[in-house]
């Protein structure tokens, strides 16, 4: 298994380590639900060194990516970030990713489990483009600080940039814990205000320790991938291999905001297939809550009577909503909040109720 520079640190903290996308990563340091609450109430620190980080250089970087990506890369303002996907010709996603548009490069953050496939796909499609693909996954690392206290904590250890002025889904470069030229983005996978920072492997311990120390009085704790999964699900964010995969396209997954059919973008791989799906979708990704004790799990059937409507994609105990939540696919005509269906758990039924997505929004007004 691959290891991030912080692997020994997680061991020393007593983390339970698991294989995640070929990487030995901390799934939890303590109770998962406590870790999720820590991020919602204070802030949490995540080692995300497993994520793939790929820089695209060269004159044609933008045009090249507009051929591969679903979103309109040329339209992304400099120093901004957009969600996008890479799809095959049939519209089946290879991966979803964040696209950082720099002034002389484009930087991509992709899923750990798909990094090799993505790189292979990218390299196979460079023909005719003046681009250089620089896989920085092995030499750099990535840490996230997420939660209401993230800004005040990161500010204590950051110089040479104005974090207050850094808008959501924007990035800049600054000095973090004494490490210059650190890429800092106001992004995350938790639904909280927060940041993701990127730097060379050799600085990992220094940055991790520096942020932990700065965050100690604010109650910042290290958070594992278990709580991260709960937080992203509460926030309505998809995970490749669950809500989307080669068989589950972004349109019916409700990710049309990451897909551009604009003429200026030109033709791109998967465009025609996805345009056809967008004209007549047959199924839709929905979120649901369930009052029963059983936690929804990937692969459980969603039923109405004897009719198998679709399958559960993800599920979690939600400490924020204080109920069990899940996502799954149902026929598009049933994708209406309030609809009650049943989930089949190895022969036993439990009622689920479709609800508006996302389950949790930091900025949504509380009724």
């Amino acid at each position: 298994m691959k290891q991030t520079p912080l692997r020994d640190t997680h061991h020393a903290l007593g983390a339970k380590m698991v294989d995640f996308g070929g990487w030995e990563m901390p799934v939890q340091y303590g109770p998962i639900l406590d870790e999720a609450r820590c991020v919602r109430e204070r802030a949490g620190l995540f080692d995300l060194g497993h994520m793939g980080r790929v820089q695209v250089n060269g004159e044609d970087a933008v045009a090249y990516l507009d051929r591969l990506a679903t979103n309109h890369v040329a339209k992304i303002p400099t120093n901004s970030i957009r969600y996008s996907l890479f799809c095959k010709e049939d519209g089946g996603p290879i991966d979803d990713l964040l696209v950082y548009k720099g002034d002389d490069h484009v930087y991509l953050v992709v899923n750990a489990s798909n990094t090799d496939v993505v790189l292979e796909w990218m390299r196979a499609h460079t023909g005719g483009f003046d681009v250089e693909i620089d896989d920085q996954t092995a030499t750099t690392t990535m840490i996230a600080l997420q939660g209401p206290k993230a800004l005040e904590v990161l500010k204590q250890v950051t110089t040479d940039c104005d974090l207050d002025a850094l808008g959501y889904y924007k990035f800049t470069f600054g000095t973090v814990c004494g490490v210059p030229n650190t890429r800092i983005s106001r992004t995350g996978y938790t639904g909280e205000n927060g940041f993701e920072v990127y730097f060379a492997n050799e600085h990992a311990q220094r940055v991790w320790d520096g942020i932990r120390e700065a965050g100690e009085s604010a109650g910042v704790q290290p958070i594992g991938l278990g709580a991260r999964d709960t937080l992203r699900l509460e926030a309505g964010m998809p995970l490749y291999g669950h809500e989307i995969d080669r068989e589950h396209d972004p349109i019916q997954a409700g990710l049309a905001f990451g897909v551009s059919f604009k003429e200026e973008k030109g033709d791109w791989i998967g465009r025609d297939a996805l345009a056809k799906i967008a004209e007549a979708p047959t199924r839709a990704l929905v979120g649901f809550t369930t009052d029963g004790k059983r936690v929804p799990r990937q692969g459980y059937a969603l039923m109405r009577g004897d009719e198998h409507l679709g399958d559960v994609c993800s599920g979690a105990v939600s400490p924020t909503l204080d109920t069990n939540i899940g996502t799954g696919y149902v026929p598009v005509e049933l994708a209406v909040p309030g609809t009650e269906l049943e989930m089949d758990i190895r022969g036993k039924r439990q009622t689920v109720k479709l609800v508006e997505q996302p389950f949790y929004s930091r900025t949504r007004k509380k009724s």
């Binding site: 939890q28 998962i32 639900l33 278990g226 936690v295 979690a316 190895r346 036993k348």
Partner: protein, 131 residues
């Protein structure tokens, strides 16, 4: 060493034979695997009704943590005569005392032996390989 007054399955259940009765539970290792030492991560335990007849090796229930579901398998077969219903609302008992207070079901034994049963020493080897 785990208690040697009972037998084990490689799927981490134990059975203690008391006359015609078999008392069935899960091991500390099973609990640890489910919740990594965080008992509050255990969320649900589904146990059978009294009167149900289970075969040796059959799944009689399920236990669930925040992140995983595990089958509960019967080391020996028989009729379920008593269920520890306190467990369903107090899963922490399993973490505190999986050997005595954390028993799950009692069965009236149909047979007292099976090739799948391991003694405590053989079970230690199973755990050593998985840990």
């Amino acid at each position: 060493m785990r208690p040697d007054d009972r037998k084990y399955l490689s799927s981490h259940e134990w059975i203690k034979i008391d006359g015609d009765t078999g008392i069935i539970g899960i091991t500390d290792f099973a609990v640890q695997e489910l919740c990594s030492g965080n008992e509050s991560d255990l969320v649900y335990c589904d146990l059978p009704e009294e009167g149900r007849v289970v075969e040796a090796g059959e799944t009689f229930g399920e236990i669930e943590s925040v992140k995983a579901v595990a089958d509960l398998n019967a080391p020996l077969g028989g009729e379920v005569i008593e269920v520890n219903s306190a467990i369903e609302d107090h899963l922490e008992i399993l973490a505190d005392d999986p050997w005595e207070r954390g028993w799950l079901i009692k069965i009236k034994l149909a047979a007292k032996t099976s090739d799948a049963l391991l003694d405590a020493a053989a079970y230690e080897d199973v755990v050593a390989q998985e840990a």
